[in-house]
C-alpha cells in the first residue's frame, strides 16, 4: 500500500540549531513528494516539492529537501532555524494517478528563542 511516514512527532530545538525532519515513502513508480507547513492558526502552505530532476530541492524560507531514491526518503532540512519556524510540518506524496495525496502524520517543531 502507498504511504508516507514521518517518524519524528515532536522536535524541540534552540534557535540557530540545524534541522532535519525525516520522511519515508513506501511506493514505487513515479514519485512526487511535497513538504507542507502549518504555522499556528494558519492554513497549510507548500514549502517545496519534488517531481523529477535534481534530487536536492530548495523551497521557501531557507528550507530544502533531498530525495534519496535508494532510501525511499525525502528529508526536510534547514541549516539554522528561527523561532518563527515553530509550526507543524507534513510530508506528502502523490499517487500514480497524480490526483490523490498521502500525508504523513506530521512533525511539530518547537523552536525556543
Amino acid at each position: 500500500a502507498q504511504s508516507v511516514s514521518q517518524h519524528n512527532h515532536h522536535v524541540i530545538l534552540s534557535e540557530a540549531a540545524s534541522l532535519e525532519l525525516g520522511c519515508n515513502y513506501s511506493y514505487g513508480g513515479t514519485v512526487n513528494l511535497f513538504w507542507y507547513v502549518q504555522y499556528p492558526g494558519q492554513h497549510l502552505q507548500l514549502l517545496l516539492k519534488y517531481f523529477s530532476g535534481d534530487p536536492l530541492v530548495k523551497g521557501i524560507k531557507g528550507f530544502e529537501a533531498e530525495f534519496i531514491k535508494s532510501k525511499f526518503s525525502f528529508n526536510l532540512r534547514k541549516p539554522s532555524v528561527q523561532w518563527s519556524d515553530t509550526a507543524e510540518y507534513f510530508c506528502a506524496g502523490l499517487t500514480y494517478n497524480f490526483n490523490k495525496f498521502y500525508f504523513g502524520s506530521g512533525t511539530k517543531l518547537n523552536v525556543k528563542p
Partner: protein, 115 residues
C-alpha cells in the same frame, strides 16, 4: 493567488444534527478534497472529487457524504453528527491530470465541535 475558502472557521453542533461544510475555490481546479486533521494522526482523506458530480471515497468516508454540483464548490455533509466527528476539517483543491502543478491548495479549516 489561489484562494480556497471554507464557510465557517468554528462550528458547534449537537449529536444527531445534519451538518454542512462548504468549500469554494476560485482557480478553476478540477480536483477538490476533504480531509480531517486530528492530533497525532495528520491529515486523513475523507472524500475527493475530480470533476463535477464525480466523487471517490478516501480513507475514512464512513459517516460522511459529499456533493459537487459546480466545479468551484465541494460540500461535506455529516448526515447525523456524532461526538467522534469533532475535528478540524480541511478542504483543498488542485489541478487535474499529470501536471507538475498538482500541489494542493488548502483552505483555513473548519473546527467542528459536536456536543
Amino acid at each position: 493567488d489561489v484562494k480556497v475558502t471554507q464557510s465557517s472557521r468554528y462550528l458547534v453542533k449537537r449529536t444527531g444534527e445534519k451538518v454542512f461544510l462548504e468549500c469554494v475555490q476560485d482557480m478553476d481546479h478540477e480536483n477538490m478534497f476533504w480531509y480531517r486533521q486530528d492530533p497525532g494522526l495528520g491529515l486523513r482523506l475523507i472524500y475527493f472529487s475530480y470533476d463535477v458530480k464525480m466523487k471517490e471515497k478516501g480513507d475514512i468516508p464512513e459517516g460522511y457524504s459529499v456533493s459537487r454540483e459546480k466545479k468551484e464548490r465541494f460540500s461535506l455533509i455529516l448526515e447525523s453528527a456524532s461526538t467522534n466527528q469533532t475535528s478540524m476539517y480541511l478542504c483543498a483543491s488542485s489541478r487535474g491530470g499529470t501536471s507538475s502543478y498538482n500541489e494542493q491548495f488548502f483552505g483555513p479549516g473548519t473546527r467542528l465541535t459536536v456536543l
